[in-house]
Amino acid sequence: MTVLETLLSGQLLFAALVTGSLYALIALGLNLVYGTMRLLNVAHGEVVMLGAYAAYWAFTALGLSPLLVAPVVAAAGGLLGYALYRGIFKRLLADSSAAQVQRMESNSLLLFFGLSIVLQNAAALVFTPNNRAYNYLGTVYHLGSVSMTGNRLAALCVAGTCCLLVAVFLGRSVFGLATRAVIERREAAFIVGVDVDRVQWLSFVLGFASAALAGVLVSMLGQFSPFSGFPYTIAGFIVIILGGLGNAMAGLLAALLLGVIETYGVALTSANMRSMLLYGAFVAALLLFPNGVFARRAAAR
């Protein structure tokens, strides 16, 4: 395949969009929680993994369509987020002195890291470490020269729509305005009367719900085990580094960019280069655009 053929291939574009939209959905939740509370949720991938299991059991044990249970799984994920926020983080976040906020950022990393290990091993105990996968919407559709499996198409549509909806919601609604205020100037937002607590718990709920939903979509595509959450956390972090921490809309663009880098990069070099491409993008972004590739435009708006 020549370079030009590769770049023009609709099949690769489709693959890049599927990958990118899933990354976007995963990064969105990570970004909200980080942006509003400076909490580094390294257990984010584990929530994705749990969502995948929920869809798997619903499909194999109860015969329910994963797309139909997706809202329920997302709600359950949101509930988990709410419980965690009320149970652990609300108290820790209440003291908002500068020193405490800084300490919180590093402590949250440890806290979530612990949570991630607990969730992985609990899942391994309860669900066994077996590989899981199921066959749902396996029909292949053809559009011109591009062939698309139903489940990948569905994943693209659901992830894309949800990301856009959340982005519009954050951009247009009063809650979105409040969220952005908290992200940019937490204390100032508090002073002008933004209900910081509400913004925080809603961010937690939205963040965990989107991760669980991403899990449902991921489970339809390949196989997963209790230990397959971590790569998603990493991908999410790369996206928010590319897009700028706490910047939801730029995150969407960055996720698509990462999907493109991964898919076309692999096509032009070799699949063995995948990790190097991903981490290369990560390091390059940190060196060249420490505030995110799309940060300046977002700031100018």
């Binding site: 291939s9 690769l12 489709f14 066994t128 590989n131 996968a133 209790p226 995948r274």
Partner: protein
């Protein structure tokens, strides 16, 4: 967090109680003198999702053995008890565990851990303590470098033999060109290194040869390249972790080669469930066992496994694990726990197993031939070599 004095006392009290309960349990266990069999298993880490096929087989064996009144140790039946530790998918951890099992836990017998690197890593430990162990889920040409004496490998799925036999099988199907895609993990990489020279020698053109990392999440790029190459056969040297991804995306892109080889994964029950029975149909994979009348106990093992776990055993790894247990059982019934006698008997006896006769020369099983199975009407059938085939190869009709 504040820790009041009374809290601390309750805490210490709780720990003491837990310790007491633990020692009490140990004391009563020693009283009935069960036979203690130790091993390490990857319960967590990147191999954890592969080990249940082996662990389940061990569990099934213990249950059956104890139901019979225990394992026959030189004429005396003793109940079996497992001493298991998680090696976290790290070979160096397995080394420590086997040392501990031998010196500290003082187990009576050892079973094998999961996978080639682990077998290789613990071989020196077995040698050092002169403790014989029958291996199972290990396959590599590197095994032949292991000093013979205290470890044996019943598998015949050794990469150089796989390369030669697969090439011979492709020849009989008149395959002129192939695409090879390989996971970079050790076993598949090794198969690739032996397979490609064999293919060239046989005049089969390798139109695409590519590798991918274990954490691959999308194969579109690689498979598009293979589709355009228009080959007669695709040889996907995949691990369980990516065999499903390959099958799903081969279907999406319409890779319609009648010969589809997927190295590891399809011998496990999860594969047809994961990709759908129609997609799994016709896939060829590595295994040298299937339940059949002339192999005594093979059908009984299959039935018992399905009954207990609700799914088929892995035709490669579960069968190998069971074979290793049979060899150990036959030996210990004769020799008791005398390690030197055990070693001599395993090294020189021809054993009857669910996979037919097994005899070791050095570390290697010299009887079982290298073989391949194909999924036909939802069942795995031995299709190669002709001498032990249970069915004929059938061309795969799409996914």
């Amino acid at each position: 967090m504040k820790f009041s004095f009374s809290h601390r006392r309750a805490f210490v009290g709780g720990i003491t109680a837990a310790l007491l309960a633990l020692t009490a349990g140990m004391a009563s266990a020693q009283a009935d003198k069960p036979l203690r069999i130790g091993f390490s298993m990857a319960r967590t880490g990147m191999l954890a999702n592969a080990t249940p096929s082996q662990m389940n087989t061990y569990e099934l064996w213990r249950e059956q053995t104890n139901a019979k009144g225990g394992m026959d140790v030189g004429g005396v039946r003793r109940k079996v008890e497992f001493v298991v530790f998680d090696d976290q998918s790290k070979p160096e951890q397995a080394v420590r565990i086997y040392e501990k099992l031998i010196t500290d836990d003082k187990v009576d017998l050892l079973l094998a851990p999961w996978g080639t690197p682990f077998h290789l890593a613990i071989a020196p430990v077995l040698e050092k303590f002169k403790f014989p162990m029958v291996g199972n889920t290990a396959a590599s040409v590197a095994l032949r470098q292991v000093k013979p004496g205290y470890i044996w490998f019943p598998t015949s799925a050794i990469p150089d033999r796989i390369g030669a036999e697969l090439t011979a099988m492709l020849k009989t199907q008149n395959v002129k060109s192939v695409a090879v895609l390989s996971n970079v993990l050790p076993f598949t990489k090794e198969i690739k290194n032996f397979l490609e020279p064999e293919l060239k020698k046989a005049g089969i053109e390798i139109k695409v040869s590519t590798e991918y990392p274990p954490d691959i999440a999308d194969m579109t790029s690689t498979l598009t390249q293979i589709k355009q190459a228009n080959v007669d056969a695709v040889l996907a040297l995949a691990y369980p972790g990516d065999s499903v991804l390959y099958a799903k995306q081969a279907k999406e892109l319409g890779l319609n080669q009648p010969f589809q080889f997927v190295a590891i994964g399809p011998s496990d029950a999860f594969f047809p469930k994961a990709v759908g029975a129609a997609s799994a149909e016709g896939v060829v994979t590595i295994a040298h066992w299937s339940p059949r009348a002339e192999w005594k106990g093979s059908q009984a093992f299959y039935d018992a496994y399905v009954k207990k776990f609700g799914e088929d055993p892995d035709y490669l790894n579960s069968a190998l694990a069971w074979m290793s247990l049979e060899i150990l059982e036959t030996t210990v019934a004769k020799t008791g726990l005398d390690k030197a006698k055990m070693r001599d008997m395993i090294s020189s006896t021809t054993f009857d197993t669910i996979n037919g006769k097994v005899k070791f020369e050095g570390v290697q099983n010299v009887i079982t031939p290298t073989a391949f199975v194909q999924i036909q009407k939802g069942k795995l059938q031995l299709v190669w070599p002709a001498s032990m085939a249970s069915s004929k190869f059938e061309a795969k009709k799409g996914w």
